[in-house]
């Protein structure tokens, strides 16, 4: 098992390469989900403000 992690002495190059691959792709995959949740939250807040304003001064 430790021979596998040593990668014939090249472990210090092989594993960081794989780490970069996964970290960058995971970040890329998660980023739009966070943006989406923020957008929807803002939209709900805007809708709530709108309906509150309409209750205060009902349209003629």
């Amino acid at each position: 098992m430790s021979a596998f992690f040593a990668m014939g002495g090249y472990g210090a190059y092989v594993w960081p390469a794989y780490a970069v691959f996964f970290i960058v792709l995971i970040a890329d995959y998660l980023a739009p989900g966070l943006r989406r949740r923020r957008n929807l939250r803002e939209l709900r807040a805007r809708l709530a403000r709108q309906s509150a304003r309409q209750q205060r001064s009902p349209a003629p």
Binding site: F4, M7, G8, G9, Y10, Y13, V14, P16, A17, Y18, V20, F21, V24, L25, A27, D28, Y29, A31, P32, G33, R35, R36, N39, L40, L43, R44, L47
Partner: protein
Amino acid sequence: MANWIPLWLHKLGSPPIFYRFAGTLRPWALALALLLGAAALYGGLVLAPADYQQGDAYRIIFIHVPSAWMSLFVYGVMAVASFIALVWRIKLAEVVAMESAPIGAAFTFITLVTGSLWGKPMWGTWWTWDARLTSELVLLFLYLGVIGLYHSFEDRRQGARAAAFLAIIGIINVPIVHFSVNWWNTLHQGSTVRILGPSKMSGDMLWPLLTMMAATKFYYIASLFGRVRTDLLAMESGKDWVRQIAEEEAKS
């Protein structure tokens, strides 16, 4: 729109329909990407033998080369979508082009970093200004330029059109990256995998490489669809269908 385009394709261009379509396909694309990726990693890191010249260091190839192919493939998709966006003003094409850019930039970045980590033990240097490396770096700057130009406009659609124009001009760099190892004398090795004719690589190294290539393609679909869905919601936030989604998600 020309009437030879089938109706279903026309409908797919409408934001609420594409939103649902992408939402259905995305989990399947991600599952395929993970499954194929796991198989490729097992094949590449465990089953494949060490290289007779490079030892185990060559195993970086299983992520470096698929990422490099994706950096060019995504650029191609972005340029085609940009062209469609500029000519026919289709909102969905704009979104596909603009959301491809960050994914392509991510793959280009991975290519450069893994290449650097491979170059240090094999060439004795992290970086050299040779044709392949330099043109790939230019590709990263093109992606960053498209992203930057898109965000520098107040109006999203105006920004998308300007950035789409840059994306189309930048396509000239794609063949330069691809053929750089043939056109110039470079430190970077030539292609070992060929579409025409037999590849210069043994089968137990080739199948993990090609499997990882398929995995990254499916990953691109999954990531792109997630990004496009987010963008469509933001662009259409005044519409009823987005309002419904916002209210449904508040309940859950």
